[in-house]
C-alpha cells in the first residue's frame, strides 16, 4: 500500500491520526483551515456576548455570563493548540484572521441589541455549536477530537444558561416577552445558517467525509437542530419567524423554509452588520497589546540571561 492508502486504511478502521503520523498535505491543510476557523470563532464570539457583561441585569447573570465568555476564550486556547500540532503557529493564524484570509463563524457578525440576545445566543448559537461539535468528537484527528470532547462538556452549561435567560423573560413582563420574541426573530435564520450550505452546494464535503473530518452532513445536522429546538421554543411560548415551519409526521421531522442564501453569502464575504466592527476590535486588541507582549518577552529574555550568568 502507498502511504496515502495506508493512511486511509487507518481512518477506515477508526484509528485516530496523531500529530507525528503521516498525513496527506490536503488533510493537514483542511484541518488547519477548519480548526483555526473554529478557534477564531471562539475568540471573536467573545465580542457580541462581552457587549452585555457590563450591562447584565443582575449580579448572578453577570457572573454566569462572565464565566461563559471565559470558557469561550478557553476553547479558543485549546483549539489554537490543537491547530499548532499541525505545524502552524498561533501568530500565523491570528495574522490570517486579521488579514481576512481566515474566517470565523458568520453568526458573530450579527449584533447583540438587547439582553434577550444573550439568551438567544446561548440557546440557539451554543445549541447549534453543540450539535456540530458532538459530531466532531468522532473526527479522525486525535487532538481535534479530544479538544471537542473537552469543549462539549462545557457547552451544555452555555446552552442551559441561555435558555434560562429566555425562560425568565418569557415569564416576565410584556416588554420582556417582546424582547425575547424579537431576539428569536433576529437569531433564528442566522442560527440555521451556521450549518453551512446545502450538501449539494458544499465544496469540500466528499473528501472531508472520506477523511472523517466531516462526520455528518450539513443538512442532516441542521435538521437535527430544528427538530430539537422547535419544541423548546414552543415551550417558551415564542413563535418562529418561518411560516413554512411545521411538523411532518410522514418524515418524522419538522419541515422548514428556505434560508436566504444571498444574505448568507454576503455575510461571509464581509458585508454583515458587524464584520468590520468585530475585526476592527480584534485587530485593535492585538495592536494595542503589542507592547505588553514585547515587554513580557524582553523580561523573560533578561531573566533567562541573569539566571544563566
Amino acid at each position: 500500500m502507498t502511504p496515502d492508502e495506508l493512511f486511509q486504511d487507518r481512518i477506515d478502521r477508526g484509528i485516530k491520526i496523531e500529530p507525528k503520523d503521516y498525513m496527506p498535505e490536503g488533510y493537514r491543510k483542511t484541518l488547519i483551515r477548519q480548526i483555526s476557523q473554529h478557534a477564531h470563532s471562539e475568540v471573536v464570539g467573545q465580542l457580541p456576548e462581552g457587549n452585555w457583561i457590563t450591562r447584565a441585569p443582575s449580579l448572578r447573570r453577570k457572573a454566569i455570563l462572565l464565566a461563559k465568555v471565559q470558557d469561550e476564550a478557553g476553547h479558543g486556547l485549546y483549539l489554537y493548540s490543537a491547530a499548532e500540532t499541525l505545524g502552524v503557529s498561533r501568530e500565523q493564524m491570528i495574522a490570517d484572521l486579521h488579514s481576512g484570509k481566515a474566517k470565523y463563524s458568520s453568526i458573530f457578525n450579527y449584533p447583540t441589541l438587547t439582553w434577550a440576545d444573550i439568551g438567544a445566543i446561548g440557546w440557539l448559537v451554543d445549541g447549534a455549536a453543540i450539535i456540530n461539535q458532538i459530531a466532531l468528537c468522532r473526527c479522525s484527528y486525535g487532538p481535534y477530537a479530544r479538544a471537542m470532547v473537552r469543549i462539549c462538556k462545557e457547552e451544555s452549561f452555555h446552552q442551559r444558561q441561555g435558555y434560562e435567560i429566555l425562560l425568565t423573560l418569557c415569564r416576565g413582563t410584556k416588554e420582556q416577552k417582546a424582547m425575547a420574541q424579537d431576539a428569536l426573530n433576529r437569531w433564528w435564520w442566522p442560527s440555521l445558517m451556521m450549518f453551512g450550505p446545502h450538501d449539494s452546494e458544499s465544496t469540500h464535503s466528499e473528501q472531508s467525509t472520506k477523511w472523517k473530518i466531516k462526520i455528518v452532513s450539513n443538512d442532516a445536522l441542521r435538521q437535527k437542530f430544528v427538530d430539537q429546538t422547535v419544541p423548546q421554543g414552543e415551550y417558551l411560548g415564542l413563535t418562529f419567524p418561518d411560516p413554512k415551519l411545521r411538523w411532518n409526521a410522514a418524515r418524522g421531522h419538522y419541515d422548514f423554509g428556505e434560508i436566504d442564501w444571498d444574505e448568507f453569502k454576503n455575510v461571509i464575504q464581509g458585508n454583515g452588520p458587524c464584520n468590520r466592527d468585530r475585526l476592527r476590535a480584534r485587530i485593535a486588541a492585538h495592536e494595542q497589546g503589542a507592547w505588553v507582549r514585547e515587554a513580557a518577552l524582553a523580561y523573560a529574555k533578561k531573566h533567562e540571561k541573569r539566571a544563566a550568568a
Partner: protein, 246 residues
C-alpha cells in the same frame, strides 16, 4: 446601623473593580490575559455578592437592589477602583496597589469578631493571594521589560498614586468597627503596604511616586466623574424596566 455601611465599603470596592476588569473581556493583549482578567473579575464579583448579600440582609434589600438601584452618592468604594482601565499598565498598577492592600485587609478581617465577615474574608483571601501574585508579576515584567513598557508603567503608577491614600484613611466608621473588633486599623496597614510596594517597585526598576497629596471621598460617597458612567452602564436594564425580574 454602621455595620451595613461598613459592608458596603467592602462590597462596592469589589463590585466596581470587577466591573472595570470586565470591560477588558475580549480586548486583552493576549488570549491568556483575557482569561486571567476575567478570572479576577469573577472572583471579585463573587466577593461583592457575599458582602452585599450580608449588607442586604441587615437592611432588607437584596444584592441587586444594592448594586443596581443606588445612585453614585450612595456608593462607598474607594476612588482607586473606579479609575478607568486606560491601558494595560494602568489596569495592572491599579490592580497591584489594590491587591496588596486587599490582602493585608482581608488577613485582618479573617480574624474579625463578626464570624460572617471572618468567613468571607478567609475565603476571599485565598483568591486575592492569586490576584496579587499575578499583578506583581506584571509590575515586574512591564517595569523591567522594554523602554516603552517601563515608561508606561511608571506613568500609570504616577497617575494612580494619589488614589492610594484613601485606602488607609481612618474615619469614625472605621474607628468604630476597629474598636468593636469587627474591622481593623487601616492606618496600620500603610507601612506593610508601602514596604511591599517599594520592594516590588525596586525590583521592577520603577520609582515609588513622591506625590504626597491624596484624593479622598469615595468612602463617603464623593466620587470622581467616572463612577456616574460606570453606573449608567451597569444599572441600565434595572433602571429602564423597573421591577422586572431577570
Amino acid at each position: 446601623m454602621s455595620l451595613p455601611e461598613y459592608l458596603l465599603r467592602l462590597g462596592d470596592n469589589a463590585l466596581i473593580l470587577s466591573q472595570r476588569l470586565a470591560e477588558w473581556c475580549g480586548h486583552g493583549p493576549v488570549l491568556e490575559e483575557d482569561i486571567a482578567l476575567t478570572n479576577v473579575a469573577l472572583d471579585l464579583l463573587g466577593q461583592a455578592r457575599l458582602w452585599l448579600g450580608y449588607a442586604g440582609e441587615l437592611t432588607g434589600r437584596d444584592e441587586d437592589q444594592l448594586a443596581f438601584l443606588r445612585d453614585a452618592g450612595e456608593f462607598r468604594n474607594v476612588l482607586l477602583v473606579e479609575q478607568p482601565n486606560r491601558d494595560f499598565a494602568h489596569t495592572m498598577a491599579r490592580q497591584f496597589f489594590f491587591d496588596v492592600w486587599h490582602g493585608l485587609l482581608l488577613e485582618k478581617l479573617s480574624a474579625s469578631k463578626d464570624e460572617r465577615i471572618g468567613g468571607i474574608a478567609a475565603k476571599a483571601l485565598k483568591e486575592v493571594a492569586y490576584h496579587k501574585h499575578r499583578a506583581t508579576d506584571w509590575i515586574l515584567r512591564l517595569g523591567d521589560g522594554t523602554g516603552e513598557s517601563h515608561a508606561r508603567m511608571q506613568q500609570a503608577a504616577d497617575d494612580l498614586w494619589m488614589y492610594t491614600g484613601e485606602l488607609f484613611e481612618m474615619d469614625a466608621l472605621e474607628g468604630e468597627m476597629h474598636q468593636a473588633g469587627v474591622g481593623c486599623d487601616l492606618a496600620a496597614l500603610h507601612e506593610p503596604w508601602l514596604n511591599e510596594v517599594s520592594r516590588i517597585f525596586r525590583e521592577a526598576t520603577l520609582e515609588v511616586p513622591k506625590q504626597s497629596w491624596m484624593q479622598r471621598g469615595g468612602k463617603r460617597g464623593i466620587h470622581s466623574e467616572h463612577l456616574g458612567y460606570i453606573l449608567a452602564e451597569m444599572q441600565f436594564l434595572q433602571r429602564a424596566y423597573p421591577g422586572a425580574k431577570w
